[in-house]
């Protein structure tokens, strides 16, 4: 594991509808870490994850992700991160395999990558031909995670990734995140399932009222 900084936020302020959702966050994440973001609802965890993905403008402070300055060009980082938010980002009328094929085509992944991702999330076989609209909430979450795996991001940003998953799915997700870390990726995830999340994380950060502290 190297100590290269993957995320470096210094006094970062993010304004949302004239409200400072993040008010002076300072923290670093090093390569190969699995970081748990803890905190109550509305504390700014989702905002922080979306900012790291280059989706939100930085109002003040210095912010860099994977060496890209988010203040000067936040779109540059996007091809190198994978974000799974509260929604799954799937097309309901397409089957699991069609969704996977679409996302893999966009990022230039091949069939082997798709097969491996679907195997990792237990989506092979008959499930792969099922339209997403007919899947359970947990199966949709697995499909979203599989489409994230296929992107081979350097930084994984996950908002409540365990939500909706059964016990087996949670174990598979944890194994997938550890495997991603072992392959060189860095993971930041928000979770309210503290016990499981702490066992998975290498470090925890506490997000409260738009600020970030070491938990």
């Amino acid at each position: 594991m190297t100590s290269e900084k993957v995320v470096d936020f210094n006094e970062v302020v993010i304004v949302y509808d004239n409200f400072p959702a993040i008010a002076g966050a300072t923290f670093c994440v090093n390569a190969g870490e699995i970081i748990l973001l803890q905190g109550p609802n509305g504390a700014g965890k989702t905002t922080l994850l979306r900012a790291c993905a280059g989706l939100l403008p930085i109002a003040r402070g210095d912010a860099s992700v994977l060496g890209c300055d988010l203040r000067s060009d936040r779109s540059a980082v996007r091809s190198r991160v994978g974000l799974l938010g509260h929604a799954n980002g799937l097309f309901q009328d397409l089957t699991v395999l069609e969704n996977m094929s679409f996302w893999s085509r966009l990022v230039g992944a091949n069939k082997t990558d798709i097969d491996q991702a679907m195997d990792a999330m237990g989506l092979s076989g008959r499930l792969s031909e099922t339209p997403v609209a007919k899947l359970s909430a947990g199966q949709r979450r697995r499909c979203a995670l599989a489409s994230l795996i296929v992107r081979r991001a350097q930084l994984w940003l996950l908002d409540e990734p365990h939500a909706g998953l059964d016990a087996q799915g949670r174990d598979e997700l944890d194994a997938t995140l550890r495997a991603a870390r072992d392959a060189g990726a860095t993971v930041i995830f928000a979770s309210h399932e503290i016990e499981r999340a702490r066992a998975l994380a290498t470090r925890s950060l506490l997000v409260t009222a738009g600020t970030v502290k070491t938990a």
Binding site: L55, S79, A87, L94, E98, F102, L106, V107, G108
Partner: protein, 231 residues
């Protein structure tokens, strides 16, 4: 590490995805086509005069097309925003102008299919006639007009995709912008039909205007779509 993705591959992936979803959900086939057909029939009842109907057939075809455009554009972006797939597209780090082109092409193809049905219904309901030269003009007019509507519809669909009240905002914003298409396509179609004694040759100038409109919104949309989606 992700590989760089070719623009053409993104265009084709988005194009195929949108058409595949339409083929699966059949919203255009089962809802938009009957809606457009009903507009044509209602006009026939309302005007109830063959001479008048033949004279205004061109305008009715393009009015029905534009009303249907609103529904198709809303649908085209609903599939991307329902489960926040649009956010995933933004984070995928792909060229969003390629997404614009893919969606615009899929929209254009659906509009062409719609216009084929509307023109056929005009022949059936309004007894319009067209010469061989008129057919060439009509095909060119439909191609240029639907391409322009595809571009402008995708641009404004993207603009309103994340807005509150987008269902009502889209027609409000889009209707004034597509007015030149409505006028030019109507005049060109009237020339193709020979409505009111119009000569076919009179239609080509209007097709020129449709081509310019399509080019402006094709280029402008490619440049503006990414920043609009990002905001």
């Amino acid at each position: 590490m992700k590989k760089s993705t070719g623009r053409g591959r993104v265009v084709s992936a988005v194009f195929i995805k949108d058409l595949r979803i339409e083929a699966r959900s059949r919203v255009v086939t089962n809802q938009v086509l009957p809606f457009a057909g009903l507009i044509m029939i209602m006009f026939a009842f309302a005007l109830d005069n063959d001479d008048v109907l033949q004279r205004v057939a061109g305008g009715l075809i393009w009015l029905a097309t534009i009303f249907s455009l609103f529904v198709i554009v809303q649908r085209s972006f609903a599939i991307d925003t329902d489960d926040s797939a649009l956010d995933s597209l933004r984070v995928a780090g792909i060229d969003l102008s390629a997404v614009f082109l893919g969606k615009a092409l899929a929209l254009t193809l659906q509009l062409v299919a719609l216009d084929v049905v509307l023109i056929a219904s005009a022949f059936l309901l309004y007894q319009v006639q067209v010469s061989a030269v008129g057919i060439v003009l009509l095909v060119t007019c439909v191609t240029c007009a639907t391409t322009g509507l595809g571009f402008v519809g995708t641009l404004y669909g993207g603009l309103t995709a994340g807005a509150n009240g987008r269902e009502t905002l889209l027609p409000l914003l889009l209707l004034p912008v597509v007015a030149p298409v409505l006028i030019a396509a109507t005049r060109a179609t009237e020339a193709a039909f020979g409505s009111g004694g119009a000569a076919t040759s009179e239609g080509w100038a209007w097709v020129g205007l449709l081509t310019i409109f399509a080019a402006v919104f094709g280029i402008g949309g490619s440049l503006a779509f990414g920043p609009l989606i990002d905001e």
